[in-house]
Amino acid sequence: MLRLGYDERAAALLVFPVVAVLLVVAAFPILYSFWISLHDVVLTRPLRRPFVGLDNYLRVFADERFWIAVARTTVYTVVTVAATTVLAVLVALLLNEAFPGQRLLNALLLLPWATPSVVNGLMWKWIYDPSYGLLNGLLVQLGVLERYRAWLGDPDLTLLLIANAAVWKQMPLAALLLIVTMKAIPEDLYRAAKVDGAGTFRRFLHVTLPALRPGLMLVLVYETMISIRHFDLFLIMTQGGPGDASFTLSWFIYVETFRSLRFGTGAALSYILAMATFLLSYLFIRFLGRRL
């Protein structure tokens, strides 16, 4: 029966504004982006936009910079996600305990989360500064280091140092999610484990960790999805350098689009990154979801 009842008329009215906004600002651009990726769009030549099929994609795959970017992005994402997760588990274990001052620590946890990523980049860049940075100062004062060095200028360290800044900002949300999961573990499980003779470590291994699975799953997927497309820190801290040491995919997209003004290949790159993100989260849920 095709009849619009009161409910459906009301729902249509209530939902319309959001759907309209999302269609204009999200759905349309996504489709438009696909169209662009199939055309040779160069901003300096606005009238000629020939259809080139999959040429943009093929050109990207043939570009050695793309494979460098894939490698850099992989290293950066793996390090960031792994460090964030491990740190978040530790922090969650700490803040799940009841002790004086615990509420204050909880409030402090929101500090990195609320910090704008630009300030985060600026702050760590200042700490890593080759001439005046705190990291140099600290290590020299401790006698670990003999003289100041250019941390971000070391191609072996750049990605790790940027990842450190990212972890600092991302860890709180991950820890919050894990705390919520921990709070949901029934107290009786711990009592049962104690009665069965399990010590603190075994209780963590056999009660906490298994119950943490859904939370860890969520953290892994979420952190991967956002780390893989980090951009702000790279622009502020290294601009892809030194050399190509921090030349990641999102930095590649930015350079290709807004410096070289090759929008076609830029859009193709964006699509590849988006697809990779989707695929990764799918694989995570598919394979880790069962075993984790």
Partner: protein, 321 residues
Amino acid sequence: MSGAEDRRAPPPGRAAARRPVAPRLGRGLLLAAFSLLFVLYVAGPVAWLVSSSLQTEAQATAVPPNWLPPEPTLANFEAIFRAGERVVTYETRRQGDPATGGFLPTGAQNLLPSLRNSLVVGLWVAALNLLLSLTAAYAIAVIDFRGRRATLYTVLATRVIPDIALVVPLFLVIRALGLINSLAALVVTYLAVTVPFTIFILISYFEGIPRDLYRAARVDGCGHWGALRQVYLPLSLPALVAALTFAFLTSWNEFVFALVLTQNVEAQTLPIVISGFVMDFTTSFSFVNAAGVIAIVPPVLLAVLFQRYIVSGLTAGAVKG
């Protein structure tokens, strides 16, 4: 590492007297050590940012570093608020920082206007975001209508699209509309970014409101608008506060879209102007750090003020999404 330790009932009778002290002491020390590490890691970097913003350029760039400001000075903040009074040229740059010979960045006078832009955009986004999300979340959470799932998935899908994939086409669309370098373009863009998340927070909150209250309101004489206004709105204040805060913070902190969609002082937001300072390597460090502190203050204030709402909102939204 459970919380069980603390809630354990005291053992009966004489057993209490023989309870060992050592493990409890050990636990206390362990907690204290971890707490200290936690505080150092989380608050240390920001403390250093604040500390160096209160130093003169010479003090901030001293070797070895001054961990605390030797003579705390507000000169850097003063320079920010007075930067608009003069045009910064090569000749006057040196005079910018009254405390030392540090350079003022060329864009110093853009800082205050960008602060205003950030505030304006943030407030608009927060308000519009709430209006849009509220009605949609109510419809999706409460009304059983054809297309409910489709609407839900549309919202879900837009939430998982990477920003970077949106930047290029959005830039072209907004350029075609002649809206490049306008606050309106930023507001609309940030709505697309924040609305899906807000909708998820509100849906999960609305679903926690007993269904019978809705039924009671409807038979008592409320239409859908009435039920939303009379029942759901007054009962969702925590979620609404969380949603407003998130929307404001997201728009205050956002960088990529602002970078691409704005060009000058008319529409540039605080992160853009600050990023300009950072990449200008002749810049005075203490001045830039002071600018960073200013950018950090509003979000941190909001976070502290609404901590409870934010935590529940964040986790609810994330779990649902």
